[in-house]
């Protein structure tokens, strides 16, 4: 099939995004056993950011209804659990707000059970809670959800393994480079020190950035507690990226046990 190569616009100048170094967990994190057969064995090949990477889907309008941001009113009755407000801003590392960007969340119910067929944790489902929310950030990059505080739950990664309470977040920003899926935690969770997923982040200070902050000013009196959590996506690179030779080194892997 023939495509018609467009003529390159004169002086095509593209933004460039910083590259996270030492922020994200290494894919091969043995404490989290599911990484054993899923983490690539070879390091990723560094490539310059071109048009496909510095653009991205600008989703939101038409995909989200205002009611999608309230996870407590999606069913006939009210869900059980502690009603909370979770809000914050989506920013880039330059400190600029990212407006009009889609934020998606999903979570367990108050008993620590997901509305999912493969969750066999013997805790009750809640007919009034599915645990899915969506919203679009406002002009200041702010999102806001009303939900219930998720419970901790066991998983079979190691003997007596429990996940700290968390809400899954999915973010787009405005470029493919900025795409981020992560988890928000709650302050002072006693399970942090035992959780290999939380601790897969090498820098202890970076781990703290996944923990929301209780804020009395965000509460609604006689109704809901409030937590604030800002999300920072990649901003502009400090220097123009220059192509560098990439050293490819095959890494021997042990094919150990997995779950």
């Amino acid at each position: 099939m023939t495509t018609h190569p467009p003529s390159p616009p004169a002086g095509l100048i593209l933004p460039s995004y910083e590259r996270p170094r030492g922020v994200h967990p290494p894919l091969d994190s043995p404490g989290y056993r599911s990484t054993a057969l899923r983490a690539p064995g070879r390091p990723p090949l560094l490539i310059p950011q071109r048009l496909t990477e510095i653009t991205g889907p600008l989703l939101g309008d038409g995909r989200v209804a205002p009611a999608d941001a309230d996870l407590t009113t999606q069913h006939a009755g009210e869900p059980l659990g502690e009603r909370i407000i979770v809000t914050g801003r989506v920013l880039d590392s330059d400190g600029r707000a990212i407006p009009d960007t889609l934020v998606e969340i999903w979570q367990a119910n108050a008993a620590g059970r997901y509305q999912h067929v493969v969750d066999n944790h013997p805790a009750p489902l809640d007919p009034n809670f599915v645990g899915v929310g969506r919203c679009v950030t406002d002009s200041e990059g702010r999102y806001r959800f009303v939900t219930i505080k998720p419970g901790a739950y066991p998983w079979r990664n190691h003997p007596n393994a429990w996940r700290p309470a968390h809400i899954h977040f999915s973010l787009f920003g405005r470029a493919f480079t900025q795409r981020l899926v992560t988890q928000m935690y709650f302050p002072d969770d006693p399970l942090f020190e035992y959780d290999p997923i939380f601790n897969s982040i090498p820098d202890p200070k970076a781990r703290q950035r996944l923990i929301s902050r209780f804020d009395i000013n965000l509460t609604e009196p006689d109704w809901a507690l409030g937590y604030e959590w800002d999300i920072v996506l990649r901003g502009s690179a400090a220097t123009v990226f220059e192509e560098q030779p990439v050293v490819r080194k095959p890494v021997a892997r042990t094919q150990g046990g997995q779950r």
Partner: protein, 191 residues
């Protein structure tokens, strides 16, 4: 950069299916769009076992090699098609995914060259603490592929992991398997 520290990634976990699939996620264009192509494939782990709890996302230029985005100085080609550029498909019990889209055009590169038609791909799954990124190229674009700056930077022995396979004799159907680990591991990129 002023240096607000970045938010770290965490795994998408095993329960993404409650929140992330969209009814129209796999269809970047409606199925009956003239010229629509279908890309199918499977997500496989280091033992070749299907990954049933993953998610594939694609992002690509339109058939004219343009993006409907403010940072593409040319903007969308504006030919009126309902083209979203973005596809999302959770993997099925057999690790399979499916994306219906239009073939992207070749793209200008800031260095004055051209990039061959391609889709950028994000792969998410339980057991992946961050997404991994790859690209899908087309098998019938030999000339453009040879000149592509990304493909030509890849070890020749591994380039075929980035090139979709024509599915039978149908020029509108392609297969692209993603192998997370092992001998035929897909090439992943640091973008």
């Amino acid at each position: 950069m002023t240096g607000l520290p970045l938010t770290p990634s965490q795994t998408i976990g095993p329960f993404l299916a409650i929140g992330l699939p969209w009814a129209d996620g796999p269809t970047v264009v409606p199925e009956d769009t003239p010229g629509a192509i279908t890309i199918t494939g499977r997500l496989l782990d280091g033992e070749g076992t299907p990954v049933p709890d993953g998610m594939i996302e694609t992002w690509q230029a339109d058939p004219d090699g343009r993006f409907d985005h403010p940072d593409d100085p040319r903007g969308a080609s504006g030919n009126g098609t309902a083209f979203r550029g973005f596809g999302r498909c959770p993997t099925g019990p057999d690790g399979s995914y499916r994306i219906v889209t239009l073939r992207p055009g070749a793209l200008p590169s800031p260095d004055g060259g051209l990039e061959a038609p391609h889709l950028d791909v994000s792969v998410f799954a339980r057991g992946l603490l961050d997404r991994v990124v790859t690209r899908i190229y087309f098998p019938d674009e030999e000339e453009a592929n040879v000149d592509d700056p990304v493909l030509s930077a890849v070890d020749p022995a591994r380039r075929d992991t980035l090139i979709a396979v024509a599915d039978g004799g149908d020029k509108y159907r392609f297969q692209f398997h993603i192998r997370l680990q092992g001998e035929h591991e897909t090439v992943f990129f640091d973008v």
